[in-house]
Symmetry: none
Amino acid sequence: MSSTDPQTARTGRPRSTAADAAILEATRASLVDLGWSKLTMGDVAARAGVAKTTLYRRWAGKNELVVDAVAVLFDELELPDRGSLAADVQGVVLQFAALLERPETRTALMAVVAESTRDDSLRVRIRDSIVERQKRLVLEGRQRAQRRGELPVEPDTAVADRTADLIFDVIAGAVVHRMLVSAEPVDTDWARQFTLLLLSGLGAGAMERRPGS
Amino acid sequence: MSSTDPQTARTGRPRSTAADAAILEATRASLVDLGWSKLTMGDVAARAGVAKTTLYRRWAGKNELVVDAVAVLFDELELPDRGSLAADVQGVVLQFAALLERPETRTALMAVVAESTRDDSLRVRIRDSIVERQKRLVLEGRQRAQRRGELPVEPDTAVADRTADLIFDVIAGAVVHRMLVSAEPVDTDWARQFTLLLLSGLGAGAMERRPGS
Amino acid sequence: MSSTDPQTARTGRPRSTAADAAILEATRASLVDLGWSKLTMGDVAARAGVAKTTLYRRWAGKNELVVDAVAVLFDELELPDRGSLAADVQGVVLQFAALLERPETRTALMAVVAESTRDDSLRVRIRDSIVERQKRLVLEGRQRAQRRGELPVEPDTAVADRTADLIFDVIAGAVVHRMLVSAEPVDTDWARQFTLLLLSGLGAGAMERRPGS
Amino acid sequence: MSSTDPQTARTGRPRSTAADAAILEATRASLVDLGWSKLTMGDVAARAGVAKTTLYRRWAGKNELVVDAVAVLFDELELPDRGSLAADVQGVVLQFAALLERPETRTALMAVVAESTRDDSLRVRIRDSIVERQKRLVLEGRQRAQRRGELPVEPDTAVADRTADLIFDVIAGAVVHRMLVSAEPVDTDWARQFTLLLLSGLGAGAMERRPGS
DNA sequence: CATTAACCGAGACGGTACGTCCGGTCTTTTA
DNA sequence: TAAAAGACCGGACGTACCGTCTCGGTTAATG
């Protein structure tokens, strides 16, 4: 977010809230048309009908802008109750795949991750705006599975958290790698096979209790 | 590779083979010092003691050059026999994590993947130079586990290939996502937990036979 | 001048008269520190402790502001009676040179003149605020010389005016050119030599009567 | 001049000599159309069909470029033998006035002089490219007058030089001041009156011998 | 052993985008 | 209604790289 601390700025002309929305929308449009590497601040500004300075007043650079512009798209992911844990997992896998099919996400996600390997503040921004936000899907899915009796309730919250993180990385990582690195489609078959692998591991494995043993 | 077609060029001064090595080495050094986005062709040329034209005569651009410079690093991955499938998997996970800890790989891998989302020839180059090459690790590990009797032999080669691809995406994807997206360390504990999840899934799941059923 | 028409503004908060002085003073300070080309409206406003809008409410732009800020400095020029016409001329030459030695005058005068070549209203402003105002020195010097009997009284006022204008351009032009274009010092020797040339010309020449003959 | 030291640069692609001419021509055209203050490096580059970098490779900035572009115009001044010293002086005055009537000279000369008050290297450039070059007119005129017997030969070269400088500043200064500061026309009448004043001063004055006395 | 064609280094070339700065205007709160 | 504050649009700045293009000068295989 452009983090306009409401307490800080009191006097003078306030920042245009309309500009924020227009800029983020223009950023997504430019990503679709040009892709990450060809996207320029000047082009975004022109599309948004805004001066370049207005962009730089709100975002430090292309990376930060794109993270904010794309983060909101990940919030579209939902976890409707499909009746079983397997169906829920398969559903979210396909949903995530559909999101990564969109050109703006496809081109932007890996690019900002790449940049974040050399920029700590960007890494934090990505973690806060995207990663941590979407872990909700894992937590919600588990909760629902536990209510259904498909999964036991893990009493140790540290273990539970660790497992949730692992599941998240496995699901998201596998889908991203399949689509963007291996460059193969994530279709229903793949999703089913992946879900089977994952849930078998979860069920049979009875995730270990003591990590450091 | 810089694809010096031996048939094409017959007469005239041949290309310096020393230059190729110097350029790739300089590229890796520049990646370490500057990272992907700050790396420039001019800088690489200067480090290699070579003119910019010499780079462009051999590679189409920054993307192709970096893929070639980094691809060789992935060949360092090995799969020594650690006695059990679990130990082998855990070993390769930690080895891969160590590779991604190196700044040149860290910054380059995601960047070229990001670029490849808009450049088909680059996508092919990545797949050929990196992805397909490293699937050998999965195949070798499976073969060894089958010899040990830890895994059954899958008679249907299509199913076997499909499963190998899945395993590859899950392992590579989870490690990459954990390290670069979630920005959390891949340590022995995580590797053990991940291996447990994966192998339980493989063993119990008895990967389905008919995909399209 | 900032032309505060007393009739126009009647109601509401009156303009701060202190602001005018502060702005002009800040303008001169900024000229000294930064010179004409680096001087900015924002800097002047900041130095004067005033908002940019306040500047623009009073002056059309940088040119007008600087003319007003500098014009007053020329009013410092005086013509004390030094006993003879030669001494008076030499005195005013050195005084004018000293004024052009000051950085604010030095940098501003030529700059606004340059701008005025493309801006008629600015040309008028310079003529009114600076040029015509300082012709008083020529007129006063002539009057005093005539009282002393050093110069005859010219009966034709048109000829007298024309001659005064010529003298003014010769004196001011020579000093400015020597200092700013030729970039050589105007010292006592030069002033004496110049005065000698000028007065010889005036005395011997017996300025022609009929211009169009 | 863009001072391409022929000894220095030996290797690499040589600078385009055609570009130099095109740039200077474009600069003059831009001065005519836009004037000094509106002239931009980008506009000049565009007119010359040249990249901005090519300008900056040859000139440090707008000031240096404009000095070079207009300096050559001053070389057009000539001193044809009009039969008498008075006619020669009057002729050069009118010629100089005509030169200052041209918009490119008019807007550029005072501007670069203004800038030079804060930039020593620019001051030197102006002196070398314009001022010193045109003193030839004074020297030539004097020589011719001496041949005619209109002026005595000054044996002391230091005095002769000092006098030539004075004459130069008086002529050039008076014309410039009349035209650009006073903003009055320099016509035949004014030129005749000015010449009369100047030559009377020269003849009668019999310029002093010992400066420091 | 001379030719010769492709190579090499150097660096200028036309472009594009950068991120900053300033000019002048507009919008808000405060006096 | 003016003032201070500061955001706004527009546009030029000077720089950095891009990828291409001359240059003069090697360097091997060919003839």
